[in-house]
């Protein structure tokens, strides 16, 4: 296969969003705003609007009080009210307990010490009373094989919280779905409600083809997120409101890649380097004219340089990182204009923001404090052609290791457990420490993919892009309010294994829970009650992850992949 990927019919449609979408349903939707106003001819035959509706949308029924989305949830779909009404909670926010979240609290010294004797003897012991009782203010009901969490007392919620109704035809959740960002508000059904759920690929494709929709989405994004996004970057922090608004106005949204990275990377990893390269769309090519500063909005991108017949990785970029600044600064300062020195390629689907060169040169750079300027580019480095030097340049890591981390998307990790097997004496102190801090249960497995002496243990990496959180029916898996650790609320977990199956790294494990006597707790069907479990980075413990602290030989570290320097330093120490 040469050139960009030509898709006759999106492969995702092999697995439609819902198998229950009937022609009547599609017809009905096609009559509704905004779909009825769209120009069907702007959609290619291989991807007609109807097909998008059929394959990327589904109709879901909610009863009174059912929670639709929770603030902080990650979701990859947007909703439209078909009938009934949805209430959005404006303020104050619904408490964590109502959202199915656990309220983490750091243990005190006694609370920590108590684990010495209070931990049960048996694995996975739970308080059965709590297991069966559930929260008092929310309940769970299963409908059509789906579990819904509902608010028990809607009138009092309406009274205590400021809520606004969303009427039929309102679309919500599209920004979070496209940007893979947490939901900003919680919504629940007010009376029996019918919602149309659109998965993000559908939204994206419609946006791409329909100008009105695109304008609508982009306007929303510009209004709600872009300024915040830019403000978060050091490069733009010195700009005043007016200036940054002008930068935002000029910023271009771009999307590269077809597949969600987490569903495709395992297959890609089996390909050869050159084949894989073809699946990585070029965002900014080496040697191309420098037409802007790229900001990664979602997904991952690889920075590489062509050497001999390959493209060794220099570094990778994740959400919030920029590309092209060095070249821009060089061209701004010097007369000789250089092109991009490296290639930026999308690893799976990547959303980027491009700030055009002129805006950067005219507005951003003149105001930039000198300390934020990158080190000047050294052209014609004599060793530039060595593959080793190319990778060393970016990270200080071994070439193979860096490629390994990228290929396996370990780069997603914010607290990846690395084990240096050259130091590890296999004493399992890490596992025991983990068990001691988690009611006698280890929350990771001391095995995993290995490159040389670096083992990526099967422990939750607390990803930048936590795909495990997509689709949790109860919101049990969520980011902790403490430091953004990905945690699972055990009592809200219904054991559906969605997260465990979603995790591309095998880092979530299902366990059969037991009562105080050590007997498995069974449901009505005599099947053991399962819970989804994983590392919580010792979110409630004093002193941080106990595994790392327990390692006697400094063989285990929890590392943030967005900063490779300390990793290289750690791995290279004698």
């Amino acid at each position: 296969m040469d050139g960009p990927l030509v898709i006759q019919r999106p492969m995702r449609w092999d697995n439609p969003f819902s198998t229950e979408m009937t022609d009547e349903d599609v017809d009905r939707i096609m009559t509704l705003e905004p779909f009825c106003n769209m120009d069907e001819s702007s959609f290619p035959p291989s991807m007609s609007l109807r097909d998008i509706v059929r394959n990327d949308m589904r109709i879901r029924n909610y009863r009174h009080g059912d929670i639709v989305v929770r603030r902080g949830d990650y979701g990859n779909s947007a909703f439209m009210v078909l009938s009934g009404s949805v209430r959005v909670v404006i303020n104050p926010d619904l408490p964590d307990a109502l959202l199915g979240r656990q309220t983490e609290k750091k243990r005190g010294v006694f609370g920590a010490l108590k684990q010495l004797w209070a931990n049960p003897d048996m694995p996975e012991v739970r308080d059965v009373a709590r297991l069966k009782g559930g929260g008092a203010e929310t309940g769970q009901r299963v409908r059509d094989g789906e579990t819904h969490t509902f608010l028990q007392d809607v009138p009092s919620i309406m009274k205590d919280y400021h809520t606004e109704p969303l009427r039929e035809g309102t679309i919500f959740g599209e920004i979070a779905a496209l940007g893979r960002t947490p939901r900003t508000l919680s919504l629940f059904a007010d009376g029996d409600t019918e919602l149309l759920e659109i998965r993000w690929q559908g939204i994206r494709d419609i946006r791409r083809r329909d100008e009105a929709f695109r304008n609508h989405i982009d306007k929303l994004y510009r209004e709600r997120s872009l300024i915040h996004h830019l403000r978060a970057l050091p490069l733009f922090q010195h700009l005043d409101d007016e200036t940054i608004q002008s930068v935002a106005d000029a910023t271009v949204f771009e999307t590269y890649g077809e597949f969600e990275w987490h569903t495709s990377f395992k297959k890609l990893a089996e390909l050869t380097g050159a084949e894989r390269l073809r699946h990585e769309p070029v965002i900014a090519g080496e040697g191309e004219y420098v037409d802007g500063l790229f900001l990664i909005r979602t997904g991952f991108a690889r920075v590489s340089r062509h050497v001999n017949h390959g493209d060794p990785t220099i570094s990778f970029l994740g959400r919030g990182e920029v590309y092209g600044l060095e070249e821009l600064v060089h061209n701004w300062k010097n007369d000789d204009q250089i092109p991009y020195q490296n290639s930026l390629r999308g690893l799976g689907n990547v959303d980027v923001l491009r700030v055009p060169t002129k805006i950067v040169e005219d507005i951003v750079l003149p105001n930039l404090p000198p300390n934020l300027l990158p080190a000047p580019i050294v052209l014609d480095k004599p060793e530039a052609d060595s593959i080793q030097s190319v990778t060393q340049e970016g990270s200080g890591l071994d070439t193979g290791l860096l490629e390994f981390l990228v290929e396996n998307r370990i780069i997603n990790g914010r607290a990846t457990m690395l084990i240096n097997t050259d130091r590890c004496v296999r004493c399992d102190d890490c596992v025991r420490a983990c068990a001691a801090t988690h009611n006698n249960n280890p929350r990771f497995a001391r095995h995993g993919r290995r490159y040389g002496n670096v083992m990526i243990a099967n422990a939750c990496m607390h990803c930048t892009d936590p795909v495990c959180m997509i689709g949790c029916p109860t919101g049990a898996i969520h980011r902790s309010s403490l430091q953004g650790q990905v945690v699972i609320n055990d009592s809200a977990c219904i054991g559906c294994a969605t997260c465990a199956n979603s995790c591309p790294y095998d880092n979530i494990r299902m366990v059969a829970v037991r009562d105080e006597n050590g007997d498995f707790v069974l449901d009505e069907a005599n099947a053991p009650i399962m819970k989804s479990t994983k590392c919580d980075l010792c979110v409630d413990q004093m002193g941080g992850p106990s595994c790392e602290r327990a390692c006697p030989h400094d063989a285990l570290r929890r590392v943030n992949m967005s900063d490779l320097g300390p990793i290289a330093e750690w791995l290279n120490q004698s």
């Binding site: 048996m122 995993g448 494990r509 069907a525 099947a527």
Partner: protein, 688 residues
Amino acid sequence: MNLKLQRFDYRSSPYERPNQEWVCGRLAEGKPCLVGPGGNGVCRAQSECRPLMKDGRWICTRSDAAGGKCSQGPAPDGSCCNPIPKCSPKPSIRRQRGMLSRYVVAVVVGLLLVLAGGMTGEAVFSPGPLSAAHSELGGCASCHTVSGKGMVAWAHSMFTGGSETSDIQNCLGCHENRGGNPHNQTSAFLAAASEDAAARGGEGGGPLMTRVSAVMGLSVPEADGGGVACRTCHQEHGGHQNDITKMSNSECQACHTTKFNAIGDGHPEFGAYPYLRRTRIAFDHQAHIGKYFVDPNNADKAPGTCRTCHVPDTQGKLMLFAGFDTGCASCHAPFIADKPVEILKLPGMDVDSLIDMEADTGEYPAYAEGEEFQAIGDALMRSDEGYAAARAYIEEEDLDLFDLADIDEDGQKHIENLIWAYKTLIYDILTQGPEAIQERLSAASDADLNQKQVADLMAGLHIDAVSILQQRWFPNLFEEMEAHLDGTAQPMPEDEGEEYELPDGMLEEADWSEGGGWYVEYFTLNYKLTGHGDKFMRDWLRFAVVTNQDEELGASLMDAIGTPKSPGGCVGCHSVDKTDGPGEVNWKSRQPNPSAVGFTDFFHAKHFALIGDKGCSTCHELNPEADYTAGFTDFDNSTFTSNFSPLSQKVCADCHTESVAGNDCTQCHNYHVGEFPPAAVDTKLTAK
């Protein structure tokens, strides 16, 4: 072919739980069940599922993780068709290790308890065998008071240390006189000794560790009851061969205020050592060797080497003097008995004047010729008040007894008393015997003499000798004394008695006593010395120096018999030490005392093989400048000048280095100073 044993997905690989104490007994076979043992190590496995009755049928509920629904399905009675065979759970690796630790502790403690309770208890608790000398001591309680009182007492003692004092007493039970202050000396002595050592200029701060302890500011620990505890220096349980008396130089220096490194390296100068007092026998080496021995007249008598006179004692420690017979007699023996000792000699008197005065004296020989008083006679009479007053008068008036013409009545009375004193003395001796002498000497010396002492002083004086004396001097003594005692005045008869003449042919008395002994010659009672070592002289000198408590008497006696010019000239060589309290006549040179331990030991004999041509003079070099004899003009043995030059430390230090002859303090010095008689054995006399 790339076989992978370990899969990572959650279905294939559940959590490994090394934290559990027990593992499935079937793990060793490679087929552990999914249930796992209970916390108590009991197998909990029953069956792979619990079938559920649904629509009147039992259906399998085996979970997907365990393999999903089984093909057979449940048995008709509702039981699972896949019972899990029971196993015996095995302890986990951690638990095995923990159990082993507990076993080891249990074995160690158990073994201790068993052995402690049994016969070998003390041997087990003993931190090692005792040194050979102590090895026959009984159990721990022989030394340790706390022993045998049980663990509670031990624990108590841990905090009170209460047994130290009694433990020390246990040591002293055998090792008498060794406790208390350092060196068994008084604090005052120790202070003075420290000052003395400091004055002799020790320097260097001591061995390295001594300096370290100085930096640490440590002072020597004091025992509970004061002084130094035995175990401060002597530590037992070091095994049979262990020398528990061994002390390092730094340990010795712990107490000493003048700290130095070793002999020859900061050690204080020797000072007078080894000449710490004048020699007991006054022998002027310089004069003898330099003058007399080289005199050709003496050539045949002079000794050739030091060895002639000086021999080591049996320990090889002291050099003893070979004695008078070997060392002195050849020259000095002939002159010792030259002169007799005049014991009593009637003073010559102006008898005519006494007759003129009609003095109450009874008869008195006109031919008496004594011009002075004899010390021993004087000693016998000085308790007589009349005599004492008369003597005082004569001395005061500087009276010439041969010219009494002008004396007044008072003087006459004194002369009368003087004459009666002599008569009373002789009368008393003849009538009362030795008791009279005992009484008189006791009174004069203010000492209570016993019969033996008197007998020694009389030196075999026979009554006949006194009787002869009486008959010659005062023929009518008995009559006169009777009358005198009655108070009847007896004027001196006018006819002077005949001068006594020896019968022709009779030996002169002096000639008879040529070999020594008593004799009367005219108006003198003499004692002729028997030669060197004469007992009479020894006894009288001892009486004068030791027994006598009256200073005046002592002086008078010493004047007569205690000068080099006195008969026998004993004191010329045998120095007399007398400062405070009883003195001593040094009849012998320094003698070894096996029980005595001094601060310093020097074993002469050990060094003989090492000294070269210079021999003894390697260390003992004559000092021609020294006025040796000047040291013997008084009775104080500490004021003296040695014949020899001061001993240089270098002489010792040349060989006594750490690597050659050794420089341990204890090679020369002793800690326990004093008299330590060897342990006596009390064996009752029994016969079979």
